[in-house]
């Protein structure tokens, strides 16, 4: 169940003042928090949280990208990949604590502007290296292996074509089309 939603054309963008943009600093101000949602004004999608704080979800999305950085993969897919933590947190208070406390700790270790306030990936990765053996980090990383890479929508970005039986396999579709050898 994915509750990522596309914003309808003409819908008012949530208030995103220049001041807010500047305040958010480092991470390009791509994601904004509005009510219980994380919103990407530029890419017209939003993610509503039910158990986790939306700020937590926004940080989790950045953390997911820093763990498995693919510059050609839009934030939306990282958001979908970590969405399961919100669902699990709704059912399991221990999981909610794991994520909320984990993110709080991450922010604490990152200095006064928190994790997303660190401008360079290297700076954020240095903080992640400090916590990579914690159950929190392993829960986020482990979940991403399936949560990110098993999204059929991301496969074409990597050049993976997925299911092929219904197309008759690759017998007539390039199983041996290599030309550069």
């Amino acid at each position: 169940m994915v509750t990522i939603y596309e914003r309808k054309a003409g819908e008012r963008k949530p208030g995103l003042s220049r001041r807010e943009l500047l305040k958010r600093g480092g991470v390009g101000a791509l994601l904004v928090i509005s009510g219980s949602a994380v919103i990407s004004p530029e890419h017209a999608w939003g993610l509503e949280t039910s158990a986790l704080k939306p700020e937590t979800m926004a940080t989790l999305i950045q953390m997911a990208r820093d763990i498995y950085p693919h510059d050609q993969v839009p934030d939306k897919y990282y958001a979908i990949a970590v969405k399961a933590h919100d669902e699990q947190a709704g059912k399991d208070p221990a999981h909610k604590d794991l994520i909320e406390n984990g993110i709080a700790d991450l922010d604490l270790k990152s200095g006064k502007d928190g994790y997303t306030g660190l401008g360079w990936e290297e700076q954020r990765v240095a903080v992640l290296r400090e916590i990579e053996n914690t159950p929190f980090f392993q829960a986020v990383r482990g979940g991403l292996v399936v949560g990110l890479y098993n999204q059929k929508e991301v496969w074409p970005i990597f050049g993976y074509e997925g299911e092929s039986y219904s197309k008759g396999g690759y017998m007539a579709r390039g199983f041996d089309d290599i030309e550069w050898l």
Partner: protein
């Protein structure tokens, strides 16, 4: 028409497992008019039900019942509850296998004589030779429709193979071809030809790859002498006061315990489940489990020395298109101790889809070193290393002291430590694989750690003397004459070859022996 047999029918041969060993043995016996009940732990999914999706297929077919691991192998750290990637379904791991069908080499039946005593290794010669098995290899190759045998043309090479072949030529390897594959290169035995679909590991939706699911089993059922009972998890083998086995207790599809009476029992549940069942079959008479007077049940667990090498190129490869195991290099399979290890290894093309590549390329890995590899997924070529590993007494399957499954049966623990010979071989293969891809212009290569084991071998090994192993040269247990082992757990040593062809050959041979013994009233 499948023949349903009564639980009290004590004239049947009960086979536990329907894969390469059990499925083949069942059909061979049924063809001879012998009544057989196969108890299969998994469900029955016909080939049109297979799924071209790695995780969905894994959920459909894989054996995911809890197991534990220990030892220094990396699988224990990366996949502590998944020591093996094998199948729980009718057809067993013949639904999942890649199809490589290679005969053992002569010296691989005589490893102790050939390699000599190696510290920390429990080497032993097989009680049979290549010459003993050759007629059965020939029958098995015909049964499976192995390419490049019986005038069957080889499969066409896909992109992944072409990269391998170009590198093999540059390195001067002489024996590189599209393999001896149990995959139809043309229609045969009422089955389709390969359509280069990929997803061989997920079950062949064309039925082009041999699997007992749609060959041996329906053929056996058609005789009226074979019943395959799915969702029947064997728990314990019973015996009488004379020490002969009398039946198998199993949990049926509703979890209810049943006992199928038997004249003969053949265990073919793969090298983790087979010793688990024997070890769990304790009684006052056999306090250490059945057929275990040697103490060897569960020991000498082998899993082949494996690993993969992936290479990234500046131009596209699309390795996932077509046959997963699309070709092989056999030059390193020889025994040549000057390389720093005994035994040898094969190099075989392999590809994983993006989801499994993410899971297996470097389990636990993260950050740009990891993700930039996946960024070039469509520019990757890949190969798998499969080499002979050393049997060791301490590498073993045991019953977990307190963890039990839903039926109250102790779960299996799989302990494995690499022998120094295994590590030396793997390192050599990593170097050769990387050099091969570099020779074709790879800009980066990845020595990828072993996946959960697909070739599980040796835990009920075959031996001349009863003290050295569990079964004799026919797979009959040394201790109990009407109890047989019919899977890869019989292997005395593992060879460098993918094991299925040898398992099938041994099963055909065992069926002849059982039929002879039955007509002679010795069984």
């Amino acid at each position: 028409m499948a023949a349903p047999f009564d639980l009290k029918n004590d004239g049947v041969v009960v086979i536990i497992g329907s894969g390469a060993g059990g499925g083949t043995l069942g059909n061979e016996l049924a063809q001879k008019g012998i009544d057989v009940v196969i108890l299969e732990a998994g469900g029955r999914h016909e080939y049109e039900d297979f799924i071209n999706d790695e995780w969905d297929s894994f959920a459909q077919l894989a054996w995911t019942d809890k197991r534990t691991t220990s030892g220094d192998w990396r699988v224990a750290k990366d996949f502590p509850n998944l020591p093996a990637w094998i199948v729980k379904a009718v057809g067993g791991s013949t639904t999942h296998w890649a199809g490589a069908s290679l005969r053992f080499q002569e010296h691989e039946f005589k490893t102790l004589s050939t390699y000599g005593k190696l510290e920390g290794a429990n080497l032993l010669d097989w009680p049979i030779t290549l010459a003993d098995l050759e007629p059965y290899y020939a029958k098995a190759e015909d049964k499976l429709g192995v390419t490049l045998t019986n005038n069957i043309p080889g499969l066409p090479g896909n992109n992944n193979f072409k990269v391998m072949k170009a590198g093999a030529d540059k390195l001067g390897y002489k024996e590189c071809h599209t393999g001896r594959m149990a995959i139809n290169s043309e229609p045969r035995d009422d089955r389709n030809a390969c359509q280069q679909t990929g997803f061989c590991f997920q079950g062949c939706k064309w039925g082009a790859k041999w699997s007992t699911l749609y060959t041996e089993i329906p053929k056996g059922e058609a005789t009226g002498h074979l019943e395959v009972r799915p969702n029947a998890m064997a728990i314990k083998i019973n015996h009488d006061a004379s020490g002969n086995v009398t039946g198998v207790v199993y949990a049926d599809k509703d979890g209810k315990l049943q006992e199928q009476k038997a004249r003969i029992v053949a265990v073919a549940g793969n090298s983790i489940e087979s010793p688990r069942l024997l070890l769990n079959s304790v009684s006052n008479q056999f306090p250490d489990g059945l057929a275990n007077s040697s103490g060897q049940v569960g020991k000498n667990y082998m899993r082949h020395t494996t690993g993969s090498v992936y290479g990234v190129f500046d131009k596209p490869v699309h390795m996932y298109r077509g046959t997963t195991m699309a070709g092989i290099i056999r030059d390193e399979a020889r025994n040549d101790p000057s390389r720093g290890f005994v035994g040898g290894y094969e190099l075989e093309t392999l590809s994983l889809g993006l989801p499994f590549m993410a899971a297996f390329l470097n389990p636990g890995g993260w950050g740009r070193s990891f993700t930039t590899a996946l960024d070039h997924y469509d520019h990757m070529a890949g190969m798998w290393i499969v080499g002979e590993d050393m049997p060791r007494e301490d590498n073993r399957v045991t019953l977990h002291a307190d963890m039990k499954d839903e039926h109250g049966m102790p779960v299996a623990d799989v302990h494995f430590d690499d022998h120094a010979n295994d590590t030396a071989m793997r390192d050599h293969a990593y170097k050769q694989g990387s050099a091969l891809y570099a020779a074709v212009g790879a800009t980066r290569t990845f020595p990828t750690p072993p996946y959960p084991s697909t070739h599980n071998l040796g835990t009920n090994r075959m031996s001349e003397k009863a003290a050295d192993g569990v079964v004799n040269k026919h797979g009959q247990t040394h201790d109990i004459k009407n109890l047989f082992v019919s899977d890869g757990s019989q292997f005395t040593t593992g060879g460098a070859e993918n094991p299925t062809l040898t398992i099938v050959s041994l099963a055909i041979r065992q069926a002849d022996y059982i039929a002879e013994q039955m007509s002679a009233k010795s069984l």
